[in-house]
Amino acid sequence: MIVTAHFPVLVIVISMLSAFTILIAGRWNKKTCLPISIATISVQLFMAFFILNQVFTRGTIHYRLGGWAPPWGIEYVIDAFNAYVLVIVLFICLLTAIYAKRSIEREQPHRIVPFYVVFQLLITGLCGITVTGDIFNLYVFLEIASLAAYALIAVAGGRALKASYNYVIMGSIGACFYLLGAGFLYAVTGSLNMADLSHLLPPLYESKVVQAAFVFFVVGLSIKMALFPLHIWQPDAYTYAPSVVTVIIAAAMSKVSIYAFIRVFFSVFTTDFIRIYVPIATAISWIAAIAIIVGSVIAIMQSNLKRMLAYSSVSQVGYIVLGVGLYSTQWGLHGALIHILNHAITKGCLFIVAGAIIYRCGLWNIRDFEGLGKKMPYTCAAFTLAALSMIGIPPSVGFITKLCLLAASLEATEYVFVAVILASTLLNLVYFWRVIERMYFVRGEGEEENEIKMGEAPVSMVLPALILASLCIIVGILWLAGAKTPLLPVVDQAVNALLGTGVVAAP
């Protein structure tokens, strides 16, 4: 019982300790890195599930770091939303770690030890962002995660260096904006605790300082989560990073940035503030709608698979933000939170497949994918399932997102958003079907069908892809089944907490 009470902090600490352990053990033997990493993430995942269960049954967890009472000490607050994101992130990390084994051996054989060290630090940062209830602490973890990500992207060398450098500059601007916002809030309230702030701020809502702080937060975090038009660092970073790194930053890290965005939006500030003082919801919805369309259209023009997926991510972030913008409807915020899981699964799977194709065949140009369906049947099957989910074919997860957002837009009587969501279905179809058509149906010139021999990627790479691909369907059905499964109630609870008095109710 005593140990379980400390899970909120242990989930971060063991990750950091394992980073150093890997560093030391790796000097002795390179082969120990992977088992240590996987073991750590498994333990973290177990803790995350435990926390989720506890939050779900007993309500929000408040953990005072070092026993210092808030608002002086740092407080870790975990409600349904944190726990939900934590589980998603750690699950993706676990699959990525398994996937990393062969991928990193091939792509970066000399940097195996540093890779795992930084990888664990990245996970530390991601977990930290999700559990903390303090806006400055969130900044620190955001930077830990970002620094790790800069390093991991740059590992690939060549063009990745430039991509990483741009990410450093953009990311730091984002983080500085965030820090400035935090400074403004501190200047007027003298507090940095989210719960405390949500109580202290309402009388100050008319203050220009508070409103400026809000704008700084929104812009800073929008850069971090690559919301159009602040996404310019993202396509290069996703494209040139090593395959594993792309998976984790696309599937897990972007989700955590979005988590921070939603958290600041609704828990530090409240719906009252957004409705009355800074009516930003409409603007944000429109930006999101443009992001959905523009991201998809640019994705259609790409010939590099990873780059295409990167632009697809731009449009998918738009989905989530659209849901946030429509928070006042019954399904808006639901759609956003549901899509966090959906997109993590789907995009994770797609990037894993992209990496597996590079690993086995060295192909990244969609034009060269002829006959891949025969050569790598399982990988391509995973890709097809995930692509169908992206397009939104029922009963996959993408379909559920579409339903929620449609319901929300109809309730808000915003028919433009309805049209955008529906049009994006067709745009997604265009760029994903191009790939599938190449993989399965287009015949290469002068090659006979029987000549193509099966050459599947190693199990450790195909398995994560298949797990995620099947989850695309299973989770879709679970969402659809609604209240009968534990998934939707968690989101319900999270949404209620976010839209209520501010998640982090005072102890």
Binding site: F136, Y139, V140, E143, L147, Y150, A151, A154, G157, G158, R159, L161, K162, S164, Y165, V168, I169, S172, I173, A175, C176, L179, L180, G183, Y186, A187, L192
Partner: protein, 129 residues
């Protein structure tokens, strides 16, 4: 009007200084083609925010926040220590960011033989892709 403006600027000069510094840094980050200059711009930008935080904490005539018998008895005011603590952490972050950015610049110099952004783009184009 003018007087009011001047009074405003002088009364809150610490904020204005950090705003000016911030804009200088921002300009350098966006407009400079030299990768190192960009990093310097980033540093100026970050430092401006640090100064802003620190000046928040200051109280005119405040002493250092070491609470002793004497201070309590004499009724001295002391400056708020919390921003200092925060900025200490933020400086660490900033240093780490700078380190990563400089490391990247070094690697890019090895790769392309230049640290001018335009030349790098040129070289990339020459290499194909």
């Amino acid at each position: 009007m003018m007087e009011w403006l001047i009074a405003e600027i002088f009364a809150k000069y610490n904020y204005w200084v950090s705003i000016v510094l911030m804009l200088i840094g921002f300009y350098a980050m966006i407009a400079k083609g030299n990768l190192i200059k960009k990093v310097i711009g980033l540093n100026i930008f970050q430092t401006a925010i640090f100064l802003f935080f620190i000046s928040l904490a200051d109280i005119r005539g405040g002493t250092e926040p070491i609470v002793s018998e004497e201070i309590i008895h004499m009724g001295y005011v002391y400056v708020n220590p919390l921003p200092h603590v925060l900025i200490l952490t933020a400086i660490v972050v900033a240093v780490a960011t700078t380190a990563v950015a400089l490391a990247l610049v070094i690697r890019m110099y090895e790769e392309y033989g230049t640290i001018e952004e335009e030349e790098i783009i040129e070289k990339e184009r020459e290499m194909g892709l």
